[in-house]
């Protein structure tokens, strides 16, 4: 585990974090709160779309985000050779 590896790993981690947290923000605060009214004009089955994001959709996206993060970090651990024994 060289210092360059550590630095590269940390940069890659921060890049991944930023992308995932932007999505986290958009689905909950964006779609669920700030843009809820325009989105409610669209229907998802019987759900107004904004309402669906606020009470269902954002939670499903949160789940996907965590598993994408865990899987991507495993790959980064290997790529930068910082994984656990």
């Amino acid at each position: 585990m060289t210092p360059e590896n550590r630095a590269g790993y940390w940069r890659a981690n921060l890049g991944l974090l930023s992308i995932l947290l932007i999505i986290w923000f958009i689905v909950s605060y964006g779609f669920g709160i700030l843009l809820v009214e325009p989105l409610n004009a669209i229907k998802l089955g019987g759900y107004p779309l904004g309402f669906w994001f606020a009470q269902q959709g954002s939670i499903y996206v949160f789940l996907v985000l965590i598993f994408v993060y865990a899987t991507s970090m495993n790959k980064l651990d290997k790529k930068f050779e910082v994984e656990e024994d």
Binding site: G46, P48, Q55, I66, E83
Partner: protein, 601 residues
């Protein structure tokens, strides 16, 4: 004894026997087992235990009711209490697991090379956890007294006894395996009635789909979606439209959601669960599994809330609004209605003396004229406690007695599992952070284990006492627990990992400032230490209720967190950087390699 009582005693008794059986099997022999279950819990199992740890009596009993009466506005709880797991998984859990110690204050003390910071963290942790545990104790007492017809205090003693058996003997190890069993009980108890009700109202057995499905009345499809039907039914009676009603303002909902998310990620009893898995990568996945198990309940709750509300409205408003026979005759009210009237959770008052029940929004001026023209003299359902939405749901939907019994066992499982997790966080911070860390550093492991057990017993007794004599501020406790965690613990943990330059002066100043502004705002609205009459809102100076951009005190934790970050940053830039070995420690926490089993040394 009725058949329902037999079922309830049977199901509750069987679950309690199971918890005690687990306690005998999973006894803790070392401090490692007592604090972090030996660090060998499988990530999926830990996810399940975390879900039970997290989902309290409030999630199980109260949340669906909150949703039923706040509609879209209650989304803050749904998003806030789940979105925090994204922050926990991405920003805290893996790094704190890598650090590999037993408690949250221990990380803060080591990272900020300061006993003072550790002690401040212990104080925050104990305050947040104690206020939280009072609610669980009340939940246990209420569940017993309502369903088993034993007095509130007897129910509380039984609950304390059960927790004592498995938490004192097994510590984190006993608590973990019991929480897994409790999760199974509570999720089964929550989803079974929901499936039946969804089937009943929409023909779809999956509540998450049923809520977006079309409304079926008496077995005949109406072609109208369930949510449209609900919007129509409530607005016809003057209530706010279900799918659009907001809580405060959009800004308030935004900040409230953020406070709950940050608070969730900063609550110590949840964080320490991630110290129990073997590796850093397990901590990442485990947070995902925890959210899977939580989401099962949290995506079902909106369906339970909406469908229960529709059932309630339809039970009372049996015909067209305004028609003489459109309202249910009080004498013809169903059995469950009578039963819940006895508990005082439902209250009826015949204001216009017509013997029928009018349930509408009499605070809506636009509807008042219409109501008067019908000869209505005000809303006659003077009390509809929101907790009924879950507790009475099986009866409203005519489900068999064993389902009702299951709901009781589920509510108790939710309260017991959360109480045990909180009590462990409290007792480990006393025996490990204060005793071993500050007062008696040379104490042997065996003595520390005994001290851990003793502080657990004391914590249970204190929690029980507060459950029996809830202080006046019990109603404000959730705000405090989340406000404290959000404004103090979360920022300090996050900066400890992501800001290498953050030093002890910055951390202590940040924590103190964050907590202070949050408490001040809460005290300003609810009284100094919640003593009634000491509120100090100053409308003449532009400080009326929710004066800060319309943000309610419950939602203020996010503002406190922001203050924490800013103050910490400013103070740290004008003081000396942390010593070299601390900067190495941060570097080391950031990479997974080299994580061993958690140690207290």
């Amino acid at each position: 004894m009725t058949a329902l009582d037999m079922w309830t005693y049977g199901v509750v008794g069987a679950t309690f026997a199971l918890y005690i059986g687990i306690a005998i099997w999973a006894r803790a022999g070392t401090t490692g087992e007592f604090y972090v279950a030996g660090g060998g819990i499988h990530p999926v199992a830990n996810g399940m235990a975390t879900a039970a740890d997290w989902m309290s009596a409030a999630s199980f009993i109260s949340m669906a009711g909150l949703i039923a009466f706040n509609g879209y506005g209650a989304s803050v709880f749904l998003m806030g209490w789940t979105g925090g797991y994204v922050l926990l998984a991405l920003l805290l859990a893996p790094y704190l697991r890598k650090f590999g110690k037993f408690t949250v204050p221990e990380f803060i003390g080591d990272r900020y090379y300061s006993q003072a910071a550790r002690i401040v963290a212990v104080v925050c942790l104990i305050l947040a956890s104690i206020t939280y545990v009072i609610g669980q104790m009340k939940g246990i007492g209420v569940a017993f007294s309502r369903f088993l017809e034993v007095p509130y205090d007897v129910g509380l003693y039984i609950g304390m006894g059960i927790v004592a058996v498995y938490a004192v003997a097994g510590g984190m190890k006993g608590i973990t395996y019991t929480q897994i069993a409790q999760y199974v009980v509570l999720i089964f108890a929550y989803t079974v009635p929901a499936i039946f009700i969804s089937l009943n109202l929409t023909g779809n057995p999956v509540p998450q789909l049923g809520l977006g499905g079309s409304y079926v009345q008496d077995g005949v499809a109406t072609g109208m979606s369930l949510l449209d039907k609900l919007d129509l039914v409530v607005t016809e009676l003057g209530f706010k439209e279900y799918t659009t009603q907001v809580m405060g303002s959009s800004l308030n909902m935004f900040v409230y959601t953020l406070s709950l998310m940050i608070g969730t990620a900063g609550l110590p009893h949840v964080i320490i669960r991630f110290f129990t898995v073997p590796k850093v990568r397990d901590a990442r996945y485990s947070a995902g599994w925890a959210l899977v198990f939580i989401a099962l309940l949290y995506t079902t709750a909106p369906a339970v809330g909406a469908m229960a509300r529709l059932n309630l409205m339809d039970t009372i408003q049996i015909g067209p609004v305004g028609a003489e026979d459109g309202n249910l005759l009080y004498d013809e009210r169903p059995e469950w209605f009578k039963k819940w009237e006895e508990t005082g959770l439902l209250q009826y008052e015949d204001k216009n003396g017509d013997g029928r029940i009018q349930y509408y929004d009499d605070k809506n001026p636009a509807f008042a004229e219409k109501a008067e023209s019908f000869g209505w003299k005000g809303n006659e359902m003077v009390k509809v406690d929101r907790d009924i939405m879950v507790l009475a749901n099986p009866e409203i939907a005519n489900l068999p007695a064993w389902v009702v019994a299951l709901v009781v066992a589920g509510g108790l499982a939710a309260a017991l599992s959360t109480a045990a997790g909180l009590l462990l966080a409290i007792s480990s911070s006393i025996s490990h952070d204060l005793l071993k860390g500050v007062i008696a550093k040379n104490i042997s492991e065996k003595a520390e284990l005994t001290a851990g057990r003793l502080s657990m017993i004391v914590a249970i007794l204190v929690a029980g006492y507060l459950g029996l004599n809830p202080p006046g501020f019990a109603a404000g406790t959730v705000a405090i627990a989340f406000g404290l965690a959000a404004s103090s613990i979360f920022p300090v943990l996050m900066m400890g990992i992501f800001a290498k330059r953050m030093n002890k002066e910055g951390a202590i100043a940040g924590m103190t400032a964050g907590i202070t502004v949050t408490l001040l705002y809460v005290f300003q609205h609810k009284g100094i230490f919640f003593v009634p009459g000491t509120e100090f809102l100053m409308p003449e100076m532009g400080m009326g209720p929710d004066w800060f951009f319309g943000i309610s005190p419950n939602a203020f934790g996010a503002v406190g967190a922001l203050v924490n970050f800013i103050v910490a940053y400013i103070v740290s830039t004008v003081t000396a950087p942390p010593p070299e070995h601390i900067q190495h420690l941060v570097e080391d926490v950031r990479v997974p390699g080299g994580a061993g089993a958690p140690t207290g040394h």
